[in-house]
């Protein structure tokens, strides 16, 4: 714990807050996006926005894997689990509760008789495949670059063990593509203006700080990579303000204790070996983005669940009252959503941002709600 204390220490937080106040120019507005859901959670959990001057606004980004998965992809998994009795569908816990079309979830799929099991890692799914040779085990894999290497390792393990009853429903997505999509959306009419990004912590341990150089140069925005403790975040916000004031637009690494410039090259190599880039992939909120996601590569095609079970993707709309799309683009805050805290709560989520603890709505519901109470109308 001593290691963590340093980054949670009250005095350091106050010193950093003072430095931010001193550095911020009162005559201008600063709008930064923390890309990563883990950062959104930490901002709310530690009440860090209270430590910032009024002219610095933090906008919550799309970096929550459960949040950006579109309804159509959930429907594919739900249909797979309910229409193939031979399949054991393995998934991470949060995904069980995200509503697909007509409010169906993997949990209801389970109640309908689908064999849906919660796992903590894809390696557990490989184990299940080994123990159930007469069943088909499908790993419903999602996530940014942090969760991709474990999936790659699981596929390689299954290949090595000759497990022909294991496959992956691959939904891994790429962070730089999402940053680019956010910035592109920002040039539109309803787009949100951003002065810089707090760069992801965990993702950057894999892809490295250099992976953001292109985005930073293309859009001329500062990106500061941060850890997940409160003082990490305050430090990165200070560095962003400094860059903006200097007119700089570079990538800085404030999480050097974990992130190297080139990232984890071994993990990158393994992912390149197992996966290839998809032509296009639909994201919730960000639309269809070319080259923004991964699929099983040529050497591991036989592990692709989409091909094995002839799964076809159909784009499906979000719940009509749900503002997740605008929230993921930073155009709306959770409190701007009509159903926030009424029809949509962590117990009964309508949209994905209310499900995962890293979702902006869930974080705001758990930690920030007391700031703006309003008359709550009972939901049906």
């Amino acid at each position: 714990m001593r290691y963590v204390d340093e980054f949670r220490d009250t005095k350091t937080a106050q010193t950093l807050a003072k430095a931010i106040y001193a550095e911020a120019d009162p005559n201008r507005q600063y709008q930064f996006m923390e890309f990563c859901g883990g950062h959104t959670h930490a901002l709310c959990r530690f009440g860090l926005e209270d430590l910032l001057p009024d002219n610095i606004r933090m906008i919550h980004g799309p970096g929550c894997p459960v949040c950006v998965l579109p309804v159509g992809r959930l429907d594919m998994a739900i249909d797979l689990a309910t229409s193939h009795p031979e399949i054991i569908l393995c998934t991470y816990g949060d995904l069980m509760r995200v509503p697909g079309t007509n409010g169906r979830t993997l949990r209801t799929a389970k109640a309908e008789g689908g064999d849906v099991r919660m796992v903590y890692s894809p390696a557990q799914a490989v184990d299940l495949a080994g123990k159930n040779p007469d069943r088909e085990v499908v790993m419903f894999a999602i996530g940014f670059e942090t969760t991709t290497p474990p999936t790659a390792a699981a596929v390689k393990e299954a290949a090595r063990d000759g497990l022909s009853n294991f496959s992956v429903f691959c939904n891994h997505v790429l962070t730089p593509s999402a940053i680019d999509a956010i910035m592109t959306a920002g040039t539109g009419e309803s787009g949100v203006h951003l002065d810089g990004f707090v760069g992801p912590g965990n993702v950057s341990t894999i892809i490295g700080a250099e992976a953001y150089e292109d985005a930073s140069a293309k859009w001329r925005k500062p990106i500061v990579i941060a850890g997940f403790e409160p003082n990490d975040l305050l430090q990165s916000i200070l560095m962003l303000v400094q860059q903006v004031n200097r007119g700089d637009t570079c990538v800085e690494n404030a999480f050097a204790r974990a992130v190297r410039p080139g990232g984890n090259t071994r993990a990158q190599e393994m992912c390149r070996e197992v996966f290839s880039i998809r032509n296009s992939f639909e994201w919730r909120g960000l639309g269809t983005i070319p080259g923004s996601a991964l699929q099983l590569g040529p050497d591991f095609e036989s592990f692709d669940a989409e091909a094995r079970f002839a799964m076809a993707y159909r784009s499906r709309p979000d719940h009509k009252a749900c503002a997740c799309a605008q929230i993921l683009r930073g155009e709306k805050a959770p409190r701007d959503c009509k159903v926030f805290g009424t029809a949509c709560t962590p117990e009964h989520p309508l949209g994905s941002c209310m499900v995962s603890p890293e979702g902006a709505c869930a974080a705001y519901y758990a930690y920030g709600r007391f700031r703006d109470t309003r008359e709550i109308v009972a939901a049906e």
Binding site: D9, G47, D50, F370, T373, I376, A378
Partner: protein, 351 residues
């Protein structure tokens, strides 16, 4: 209260298609809703409706009763077992009313095939805990269910106690007032982390054991030192976070906690980091929250510090005005956040 309930439970229980979920037993928001919308309408009376952990008898005003079911898994854990919990849980509920616990009844639901040796160990633990608390187990019942229809042993206990002469108005959550201090008798999360670590097989760098204990002498010491004590609660399931929310709901107030002053042991804090759980929501089985007028804080804390179960007691917050009943917290970073009720059931069968 109606408006508050609407905010707290925006979606009513679905009596047509709904089913019991684990969350209904977690002691958090779903448990409160089950009581509010199912049991309370069925059984409603002024004593039950107050929603305290122990109730006084009509016609026997000095007598208090409380009841508690115990389903902990695993049955045996560092610091205790289901037997010690079955005594301490009910003794502590009686104790929060300011009463001195005297008698207990126990009902055992046993599963076919459960080893007699284990049952004997549990009974001996109960006997030892009862002796220590100076109570007698005066009645009981045993039922056995077929193998597969239970999980070893469940124990339900009911406790009876008597309010001492000097307590004029028994403490209750509805009595908390704006300006009162929130005191906590010691470190949070020990029981919850012990159970979790035992289940996950988590190797811990430092020994952690359940804090399970009878707190009635501590309760008496607090009331004797601070006669204005408004409310006592033992923050079991749902943890300190949920207990403070319950107090605010019952008294129509809000609260603000101060994160740096909430006592927690380092190994527990470290284990919570690893397990990804918030210790504010973890069960405690030997702690008391006391709502005390600000003017009596010093004497209450002194009395707690002088008691073996209150050495690490601290003032952790205060009751504030908030018609919406929110519990807030000043964080270690110096910002503010909300402390919600426990939602869902991340840790079933913790006690």
């Amino acid at each position: 209260m109606d408006k508050l309930n609407r905010r707290l439970f925006p979606r009513k229980l679905d009596f047509r298609n709904g089913n019991i979920e684990l969350a209904h037993g977690a002691g958090g928001k779903a448990s409160a809703q089950l009581f509010e919308e199912l049991f309370r309408p069925a059984f409603s009376n002024p004593e039950l409706d107050r929603g305290d952990d122990a109730a006084a008898f009509e016609g026997a005003a000095r007598m208090v009763v409380a009841t508690d079911g115990h389903v902990v898994s695993p049955l045996f854990f560092p610091g205790g077992d289901i037997g010690t919990l079955a005594i301490h849980g009910t003794v502590n509920d009686v104790a929060t009313s300011g009463a001195i616990p005297r008698y207990l009844t126990a009902a055992f639901i046993l599963e076919e095939g459960f080893p007699l040796n284990d049952l004997q160990t549990i009974a001996q633990s109960m006997a030892a805990a009862a002796r220590e608390a100076e109570i007698s187990i005066i009645a009981g019942d045993t039922k056995v269910v077929e193998k597969g229809n239970g999980d070893g042993v469940f124990i339900a206990t009911t406790g009876v106690g008597f309010l001492p002469e000097h307590i004029v108005e028994k403490p209750g959550a509805h009595r908390a007032q704006v300006g009162d201090a929130i005191l906590l008798s010691g470190d949070i999360g020990d029981h919850g982390v012990t159970i979790l670590a035992a289940r996950e097989g988590l190797p811990l760098s430092a020994p952690i054991k359940s804090d399970t204990a009878s707190v009635h002498t501590l309760a008496q010491a607090i009331i004797a030192a601070a006669p204005g004590t408004k409310c006592l609660r033992d923050p079991t399931r749902g943890g300190v976070a949920t207990a403070v929310n319950e107090i605010c709901r019952a008294s129509g107030t809000g609260a603000i906690l101060n994160e740096p002053s909430i006592p927690i042991r380092r190994p527990v804090e470290a284990a919570c980091e690893i397990l990804g759980v918030d210790p504010l929501y973890l069960a405690n089985e030997g702690k008391l929250i006391a709502i005390v007028p600000e003017a009596q804080v010093d004497q209450a804390l002194a009395a707690m510090h002088a008691h073996p179960l209150g050495e690490r007691a601290a003032k952790i917050g205060r009751i504030i005005e908030d018609p919406d009943g929110f519990v807030q917290m000043e964080t270690v970073s110096g910002g503010r956040r909300m402390v919600d009720w426990l939602v869902g059931d991340p840790l079933p069968r913790i006690c």
